[in-house]
């Protein structure tokens, strides 16, 4: 059987707000094989970050709760922890969060406290998660800063976050995130705020580190180019739900969901003289979702029942799942937990 590190089933995350309950993530299911890079892509507000924060049990620190579903984490092939069952403040989840599962963000200042030197903050994480002595932690932190190509790492150990350039802060955050040898790295738009030259440096660095540390990664981005260059499998989200899930190569070669098709046609491609396709309308508000398929109001292929009945997930090709009525009828839907796409493809 396959070696999975994460299996998410029927995940539903709700936020309480003044205007009512918001269903930010709804019926999200996927598995993640060891060493896989899974991409989560979609436009802002579609639930990418909330999916990540739900896995990490962070939504409970906000006005959120996990309403349904499970997140099974398998640190080794014979251990299984249901993360949703843990208290968000428990020692158990705190040992996992930032150690075994670590996160990097778009804004590195989200990871660093501006009033402490960067090296000191990195060392503290190492003391907490790996139980290193202060001196060992310092050496390891400097080694990591060196690894992410921060010049004069030993000297910069004592510098404050604001003394680093934007690109260097991003590297330092990555250094901190991988310093405890995480089993799973969740990168939430790690290059979105960066110049293209620095973005290329960071993507290259992440590729190198993934190879060196045989890391499993969830790469969250709104950029299809980052998906193409970095991921094995992809989950396209729309209004809190998974619209499509497949291997990255199948997604680009043969996108099934009308939303994915439209999205791929609306990105400018260098050298192409074709007009950009533009999807009319806008993403629905989570407070006022359409009754049937969430994409129906903008979908060029929408049929009558699309407006009244929410489509289930179909699997028209092995490992390629799509939530759209064009691909099946009631009764055809898949219910079983998904394996990872490329694995299913390989198994056929």
């Amino acid at each position: 059987m396959s070696d999975h590190i994460l299996r998410v089933e029927g995940l539903k995350t709700v936020f309480k707000t003044f205007s009512g309950d918001i269903n930010a993530v709804d019926d999200v299911a996927f598995s993640l094989a060891r060493n896989e890079t899974l991409g989560i892509v979609g436009e802002s507000g579609c639930g990418k970050s909330v999916t990540a924060r739900s896995i990490m049990k962070l939504v409970e620190f906000e006005n959120g709760r996990i309403d349904a579903g499970s997140v099974e984490y398998m640190p080794t092939p014979d251990e299984l922890i249901d993360l949703t069952a843990l208290d968000h403040k428990s020692a158990e989840i705190r040992a996992i969060r930032g150690g075994q599962i670590s996160m990097i963000f778009q804004e590195p200042m989200a990871s660093f406290n501006p009033v402490f030197p960067i090296g000191k903050q990195m060392a503290e994480v190492l003391v907490h998660h790996l139980g290193l002595s202060k001196l060992e932690a310092r050496d390891r932190a400097i080694e990591m800063l060196n690894r992410v190509k921060i010049p004069n790492a030993a000297q910069r150990f004592d510098e404050y976050p604001h003394e680093f350039s934007g690109g260097m802060r991003q590297r330092a955050m990555i250094a901190m995130a991988i310093s405890c040898n995480p089993k799973l790295l969740i990168a939430d738009e790690p290059t979105t705020a960066l110049d293209v030259t620095v973005e290329a440096q960071i993507l290259e660095l992440l590729n190198e580190l993934e190879a060196e540390h045989s890391m499993t990664t969830i790469m969250i981005t709104h950029d299809m180019a980052v998906i193409a260059e970095m991921t094995d499998n992809v989950m396209v989200m729309y209004a809190g739900r998974i619209a499509e899930y497949s291997s990255a190569s199948a997604l680009f070669a043969n996108p099934l969901h009308p939303y994915t098709q439209a999205l791929l046609k609306s990105i400018p491609r260098i050298g192409s003289k074709e007009e950009l396709y533009s999807i009319e309308g806008s993403v629905p508000s989570l407070l006022d979702l359409p009754k049937g398929c969430y994409f129906a109001p903008r979908c060029p292929f929408a049929m009558e029942h699309c407006h009244t009945q929410a489509p289930p997930t179909f699997e028209p090709e092995p490992g390629h799942r799509v939530r759209c009525w064009l691909y099946g009828e009631p009764g055809d839907e898949v219910r079983a937990a998904p394996l990872t796409a490329s694995e299913e493809v390989a198994g056929t």
Binding site: V198, E199, H222, I227, A228, F252, P268
Partner: protein, 352 residues
């Protein structure tokens, strides 16, 4: 480029910001944000401006309608509405006001430029109040027609900005910029914060407006795929200077400056055959603009730098028709174009 079609000519434009220190705010140096930039913009043309953050794109854009006072240089505007040329360097107040009417800016964050307490009608028609003698009804008609043109239903005119999405707010900002019938729009990262589907809508609209109104654009953006898509010509800036300027196709097919080539290597591509493939990256950070390197500003990061690059600043010269580069070796370096880079990357080994 016919002389008569030039709508904007910028010559030797400089903007130095003083760096002040201490209690007495003594000036200890200058940031050369824009350093001797010259170019022309033709009627109906889109000139893209790219470069890493801090290279002076915004400052250059803001100098043109004099939202930032240039340190030196000449900006000549020859629009339709006024006979003769308008020299900004010596312009009096009235002429500056005229210039600001004919050159409008659009910014990245539409929310920051829209007053939350004003209705959409008030926002869009505000420039009319100081610049035109129209009755309330005439103002409403004009605002309504521009809102419709930019894709906002005119019966939403009495709503407030917070009732609109980011893309809609950008449309409202564009309607406002268009209300005085400008000839040049300076779009400063105007689509950078938008989601791709909305970005595609706005880019399409920019193109339609250009055709209908023969607008000229200075299109500032850090996303090279977007700039390639919208621009006729592209200017690549590095530390306040023009590194290269050429027709869009020429720049991507046969770049003549090593910095441009490095940018082309950096662009991620929506092509899964590049998955995990090694890429050449431009190492290091942009040098401190207050203390730029000697010689060619790019020599500290340039893979092709020679001795002369450390000592002598290369002038911007025309290396092929309409193709300008500021590199000592612009004529001889075999720099790669975008498609070549992609095929080279495909044949690279993957990581692992």
């Amino acid at each position: 480029m016919a002389e008569t079609n030039t709508i904007l000519r910028v010559q030797g434009l400089k903007k130095y910001f003083p760096i002040q220190r201490g209690v007495f705010r003594r000036t200890v140096g200058h940031v050369h944000a824009v350093d001797d930039v010259s170019f022309e913009l033709t009627k109906g043309e889109t000139l893209g401006i790219v470069g890493e953050s801090g290279c002076g794109k915004t400052t250059l854009g803001r100098c043109i309608p004099r939202l930032v006072e240039p340190t030196d240089g000449e900006i000549t505007f020859s629009g339709d509405s006024v006979g003769g040329e308008l020299r900004v360097q010596s312009a009096d107040k009235e002429r500056i006001a005229d210039l600001r009417r004919r050159v409008q800016m659009i910014f990245q964050d539409p929310m920051a430029s829209l007053d939350p307490r004003m209705t959409i009608f008030e926002i869009v028609s505000e420039p009319l109040r100081y610049n035109a003698d129209l009755t309330q009804t005439e103002q409403r008609d004009r605002a309504a027609s521009l809102l419709e043109k930019t894709g906002i239903r005119s019966d939403y005119m009495d709503r407030y900005p917070h009732q609109f999405s980011g893309g809609q707010r950008q449309r409202i900002g564009i309607a406002r910029a268009l209300i005085l019938e400008p000839e040049v729009l300076i779009c400063d990262e105007a689509v950078s914060a938008l989601d791709v589907s909305v970005q595609a809508q706005i880019i399409k609209m920019f193109k339609q407006l250009q055709e209908e109104l023969s607008l000229s654009y200075l299109f500032i953006a850090h996303d090279l795929s977007v700039v390639e898509h919208v621009s006729h010509r592209i200017m690549v800036m590095y530390l306040g200077k023009i590194a290269e300027m050429a027709e869009s196709d020429a720049l991507f097919d046969r770049p003549r400056h090593p910095y441009t080539e490095s940018l082309l290597y950096s662009i991620p591509s929506a092509d899964p055959s590049l998955k995990g493939k090694k890429r050449r990256v431009l190492a290091g950070d942009v040098p401190n603009p207050a203390d730029p390197p000697s010689g060619c500003y790019f020599h500290t990061r340039c893979p092709y730098a020679q001795e002369i690059c450390k000592t002598t600043a290369p002038p911007l010269k025309e290396v092929a028709e309409g193709h300008h580069s500021a590199c000592h070796f612009a004529d001889t370096l075999p720099l790669k174009g975008y498609q070549q880079i992609i095929s080279e990357r495909r044949s690279e080994p993957a990581h692992e």
